[in-house]
């Protein structure tokens, strides 16, 4: 059940529609003099730095970012103090959906970077369905 499973793609949203994406980061402790931000790079390569606030349940941090539905994005969580970077997560790649929900996993010298791509298709590749119908797809499948 990957995030590109067509079962979980809203058929009423055409590729590229703008949606408000809810961002939620769990299992993180941020001190009073620190800031938590999500840095999102959209499909056009524009980076947005959005401050995250404590959620109502006080167990996680949340933010809202406007993205184009199903377009390739990358994002990273960073903790800053007086504008200086203190901690950061790995840069993750996905497609813009209605929610980004992650557990905090800081990158450290002794911490191997997690596998970044949940969706290895960065938007430059055709969708599996399109690929199956393409000339190259048919040749690969049937040897035509």
């Amino acid at each position: 059940m990957t995030k590109t499973n067509p079962l979980f793609i809203d058929s009423t949203k055409t590729h590229g529609d703008s949606i408000g994406t809810h961002v939620e980061l769990k299992k993180i402790l941020v001190y009073d003099d620190e800031d938590l931000l999500i840095v999102v790079t959209n499909h056009q390569g524009v980076a947005m730095r959005i401050p995250m606030k404590v959620a109502e349940d006080e167990t996680s941090y949340e933010a809202r970012v406007h993205l184009n539905h199903q377009k390739a994005i990358s994002y990273q969580f960073v903790v800053e103090k007086n504008g200086q970077l203190i901690l950061q997560s790995a840069t993750l790649r996905s497609r813009a959906q209605y929610a980004i929900i992650e557990d905090w996993q800081p990158l450290g010298a002794d911490t191997p970077a997690p596998v970044p791509a949940q969706d290895t298709n960065d938007g430059t590749q055709p969708w599996p369905g399109e690929y199956a119908k393409s000339v190259k797809g048919l040749i690969d499948k049937w040897g035509l």
Binding site: M1, K3, N5, D10, S11, Y98
Partner: protein, 248 residues
């Protein structure tokens, strides 16, 4: 009015038995209940009506050939209304693959019934397909029946992953009302699994466990709810108590 899906992607955990007996127990307590059979195997339909065939089923409703109210059939024995299923439902995923808004067909079809019932229960198929997604998007909450074995925890993992995917991909938050323990036997493994569900998954486990009982199976074969077939059996009392607990 609540719409609740009874779901577990693991088979054989008494989804249908739980749906039927909870629905019927609610009806016995004076509630107006609709049960929707969304499993192509039609287990709930067969348990209530035997081999009877229906002119209109949930398949016709989903495909737009009928309105939901036209497919409702009443069962005097169970005291509930049912929208029956049929095997054609297994082909719906392909038939609706290119249908605009295919994920929310059931949600839209059930809207006219909102004021007619106190509760609508949806008996889901064990597979994760378009119909299960439709059930989840139509529901406010879900109930997860599990047999307390180690493999049952895998079923919970699958459900949680599905709910997360629905939230991220489709933007809907479906709540987990709680976990129903079925086919309970007083064994260490059962207690371990229940403890893990509470502590590791942080899920609400209903305190009325349904005991492993032949009366439940016999009631099924006799097309009767267990509270009518064997009213003095422990399973009958457990389902009655569970239905009250579920209604809170």
């Amino acid at each position: 009015m609540s719409i609740i899906s009874v779901i577990n992607q693991k088979g054989g955990v008494a989804k249908t038995t739980t749906s039927l007996n909870v629905a019927s127990s609610w009806a016995a307590q004076g509630k107006k209940v609709l049960l929707i059979d969304l499993d192509p195997q039609s287990s709930a339909t067969k348990a209530v009506f035997g081999d009877r065939e229906f002119e209109k089923t949930i398949y016709d409703v989903i495909m737009g050939h009928a309105q939901a109210e036209d497919a409702i059939v009443s069962s005097d024995v169970f005291g509930i209304d049912v929208i029956p299923a049929e095997i054609m439902l297994s082909g719906v995923d392909l038939q609706l693959a290119a249908h605009f808004g295919r994920e929310q067909i059931l949600r839209r079809k059930l809207e006219p019934l909102n004021r007619r019932y106190d509760a609508i229960l949806i008996d889901c198929s064990p597979s994760l397909g378009l119909m299960t997604i439709n059930a989840l998007l139509a529901s406010k909450d879900i109930i997860i029946p599990i047999c307390p074995e180690y493999f049952s925890l895998k079923g919970i993992d699958l459900i949680l992953a599905t709910l997360q995917n629905i939230r991220t991909g489709l933007g809907y938050k479906v709540g987990i009302r709680g976990v129903v323990i079925t086919r309970y036997r007083d064994r260490k493994v059962a207690k371990d699994v229940i403890r893990q569900v509470r502590e590791h998954y942080q899920l609400n486990v209903y305190s009325n466990y349904i005991p492993d009982s032949i009366a439940v199976e016999e009631a099924h074969h006799n097309h009767s709810p267990v509270h009518k077939y064997a009213p003095r059996s422990p399973a009958s009392k457990a389902y009655m108590d569970l239905s009250k607990e579920l209604w809170l």
